[in-house]
Symmetry: C2
């Protein structure tokens, strides 16, 4: 994996770069749509490629490990071949899902024992086996196994957990070094900064993570319920320490405004289920703010879904029709809203990149960020 | 509306023709995907047009009347404009849904009082108001209000019901004559033959329907549970009486084999929810037979969904991936299976048309029909 910085904003830490993987290039800053079990919900791969112009999508190790399981993915030749997506992918380490979804999880120094949320079967994740599982799933970028602390989290727990995450990181890196890619392309492993919302822990964690000189670095444990200002503060502090010459990934973030603020602080990569999940509930992100398409006010609004939108659904369908589909619980409603939202997120980061390249990021961000959270 | 017969099969009653409406031409025999509330479930309009090459789709008056309601459709400028489909459409009269879906329906000579299956509100459908409702919905082809008898149905009820359907037809035709199109294009009204599975009633009904010299004629009350042989016998008998120079529409039919048998007996138009409904349950229609993609045997079959398929989903995705999506209840599973099935149905009738044009329909049908109901 290679990362080239194309431009740094003169007035902020925003940067435009390019990641090169064996499955192609990714222009940063980038948003990565979440394809939990190997599908970005309701969106065809062709739409992701041709209409939305997604450059990289994410898969969840926890979900893929349970279904379809490693055998099926391995026989297919890896996740990309299995799902029919010949561009870059990233998998998380399963850490977050183990804590948020599974039953009866037990965390020890060795790893985590948990029960599947689907059938109650018992499984064990360790830094070593999660690294090998991600080798088999075969994403271009794989993540270290960490503990994602909740918010709020008391200082002592956050500190202990952070140290364990650091020890786990060493075990992940060792296993990564010992093992080979399962398929005929390379993988990069990104470590994850933890430390909850404590400045000293975040600094300490960022320094520890930076010391490994990995091909990219991630910030975890944010966007878990803390105020946005806390998230921005931690992001800023961590980005100051993480190496400039490597991509930085802020995990699980966030709203369009969160993303623009993250970019301003030096983040290059984002992922979040929000655009697809909210789409299924009828919430549409636009440059002018958020539309709840189920509201009565859109009942007879025959204007396009989003006149400023970049995907075909924005122009092929009207708000009134989309509202009707959501009210009648038609599949197509969720499909239209999801293509719109993911298209909007990709257009958001693409526009951010253009503004960084032209040296006007901060002014632009300050202007647009106010509108993004309007309720229309 | 205009209908031109291009070719009649020398060895059967199969015919290839062309219907011209103000929204474009339809090459027959044709299958019409069902877009119940204004959406062919899980399929984008763009896919219907560009990938599946649907020439006409169907809407359900009962559903559209309840949601979004006539005001919304009228303000949009008709159903086509509302849903973003600039090709021909057909609406049924609501008769079938009133009997199969609504609660506490009461049929009198005047019409049918029923309660909505959604919110229990009380409504009244009569030949006159259903004609006007369909004027407002605005499909190119609209249907007479009939009573669709169940199977089995005793002779006396079938006879009485048929006579009422004939009286209702006259009221529909009168209302149709009295009224004007709501939008700037023409509509055609098709009457419907009833008579259950009784030969004398079917003959009598076909003669009555033929006498009105409508722009097209439909056969209703079949595919409601009777053996396929009964359906074929009634179809044959009715097609012998209905005028050759007008299109014939066999309502609610059916399996791929049913359609090929219907074409052989002189039917030009078909509709059925089967390809989309079965798709959502993981059943795929192919030239070699029916695939239940949820079966274990497809678990690690990495061949394309349907190597002989004509749509992009057939080649972009594998059986193993589609099975995984269906097993995990991902939206994309239903989406892929639906595009495949509707694509298959459109390819089926397109191929049938080619075989009629080249004069080899019967031999071809006899050869392929055996495979279509195989369980793979």
């Amino acid at each position: 994996m290679d990362f080239t910085l194309n431009k740094t904003d003169p007035k902020s830490n925003a940067r435009a770069g390019e990641i090169t993987t064996d499955h192609g290039k990714i222009q940063t800053p980038i948003f990565m749509p979440v394809g939990t079990v190997g599908s970005v919900k309701t969106i065809h791969q062709r739409e992701l490629k041709e209409d939305i112009e997604s450059q990289i999508i994410l898969g969840n190790t926890y979900h893929l490990f349970l279904r379809p399981g490693l055998d099926i993915i391995k026989q297919a030749g890896g996740l990309q071949k299995f799902i029919g997506w010949n561009k870059p992918m990233l998998t998380d380490s399963g850490g977050y899902q183990v804590y948020s979804l599974s039953n009866q999880r037990k965390i020890t120094e060795e790893g985590v024992t948990f029960k599947s949320h689907i059938d109650g079967t018992r499984h064990f994740f360790s830094p070593e086996n999660v690294t090998l599982i991600q080798r088999t799933i075969g994403a271009d970028i794989i993540m270290a196994f960490d503990e994602c602390t909740p918010y709020p989290c008391d200082y002592d727990y956050a500190k202990k957990s952070m140290h364990m995450t650091h020890r786990w990181l060493k075990r992940c890196l060792d296993e990564f070094q010992r093992s080979e890619p399962v398929y005929d392309y390379n993988q990069a492993l990104f470590p994850i900064v933890q430390g909850s919302t404590y400045e000293d822990l975040r600094k300490q964690s960022a320094e520890e993570i930076a010391s490994h000189e990995a091909e990219g670095n991630a910030i975890g444990g944010l966007s878990v319920g803390e105020p946005a200002e806390e998230m921005y503060k931690m992001t800023e502090l961590v980005c100051d320490i993480l190496p400039k010459e490597k991509p930085r990934y802020l995990m699980g973030v966030g709203t369009p405004a969160n993303i623009l603020e993250g970019i301003e602080r030096g983040v290059d990569m984002f992922d979040c289920v929000m655009p697809t999940r909210n789409a299924r509930h009828g919430l549409l992100f636009t440059w002018d703010g958020i539309i709840n398409i189920k509201n009565e006010k859109w009942k007879n609004d025959y204007t396009p879904v989003d006149p400023a939108g970049t995907t075909y659904v924005d122009h092929d369908y009207s708000k009134a029709y989309l509202r009707h589909l959501m009210k009648t619980k038609e599949y197509l409603g969720a499909q239209i809203a999801s293509v719109h939202n993911i298209g909007f997120y990709l257009n958001l980061v693409k526009t951010a990149r253009e503004k960084i390249m032209s040296g006007e990021y901060s002014e632009w961000k300050n202007k647009v960020v106010k509108n993004l959270e309007n309720r229309l």
